[in-house]
């Protein structure tokens, strides 16, 4: 299973999904209307490394996080 977490203001509980890449994750999350806006403005990290392409293989135990727009300081 791959764990998916939603950071900061995204009010959504973590998911445990049986997926093997980010395309599959995108497909699943796009079905959730409330996630629409967050998908557009969030970055994605796999095992705490930001990724810039969906061509990332996911394996058992991997962790994906979604990072919405930031404003530190």
């Amino acid at each position: 299973m791959v764990r998916v977490e939603f950071l900061g203001p995204i009010e959504k509980k973590p998911l445990e999904l049986d997926i093997s890449n980010l395309n599959e994750l995108a497909e699943i999350l796009q079905k959730d209307k409330e996630m629409q806006v967050w998908l557009e403005n969030s970055a994605v990290a796999v095992n705490d490394t930001l990724v810039s392409s969906r061509d990332v293989a996911l394996k058992e135990g991997d962790r994906v996080v979604l990072l919405p727009p930031v404003c530190g300081g």
């Binding site: 950071l7 995108a26 970055a43 705490d48 490394t49 969906r54 996080v65 979604l66 530190g72 300081g73």
Partner: protein
């Protein structure tokens, strides 16, 4: 070094400690940037969420880049609530000569604003309201849309 605190920062103490930490390191320039919560739009204060693992790796990458120029970077940030006129953020560069520190403090603070995984909320009537309009999408956002 990266320091995270619950609530507001004790600015004079942090500026003093950092100055003393590098007192014998032979740096000619020390430039702190201090960020303080401003009264605007009737807020009572701000509140911050931090995602520490990515903040630490982002900071580590900066640290290496700045060390390669013979300089040092330190940063402190608040978690949770920080009220009006309290401070939530300090970044500081030490360098042998002034130009390196002057350029890095600017670049670091701007990249911090654009990239550091920290989320800001306005505190209004006791509620925590995400400051979306003042936030910046991290580079590469929208990958799953």
């Amino acid at each position: 070094m990266l320091y995270l605190y619950d609530g507001s920062l004790d600015v004079p103490t942090i500026l003093k400690e950092w100055y003393e930490q590098e007192a014998d390191s032979n740096y000619g320039a020390y430039i702190p940037f201090v960020g303080t919560v401003r009264s605007e739009d009737n807020i009572e204060g701000l509140s911050f969420d931090i995602y520490e693992p990515i903040l630490r790796s982002w900071f580590e990458a900066w640290q290496q880049r700045i060390r390669a120029k013979g300089a040092v970077i330190k940063m402190a940030h608040s978690r949770g609530d920080v009220m009006l006129h309290e401070s939530s953020y300090i970044a500081a560069v030490f360098s042998p000569k002034r130009r390196v520190a002057l350029e890095f403090i600017d670049e670091f603070v701007e990249d911090f604003k654009a990239s550091a995984p920290i989320w800001k909320y306005d505190l209004k009537n006791g509620k925590r309201i995400y400051a979306l309009d003042r936030s910046t999408a991290i580079k590469g956002s929208g990958l799953l849309s």
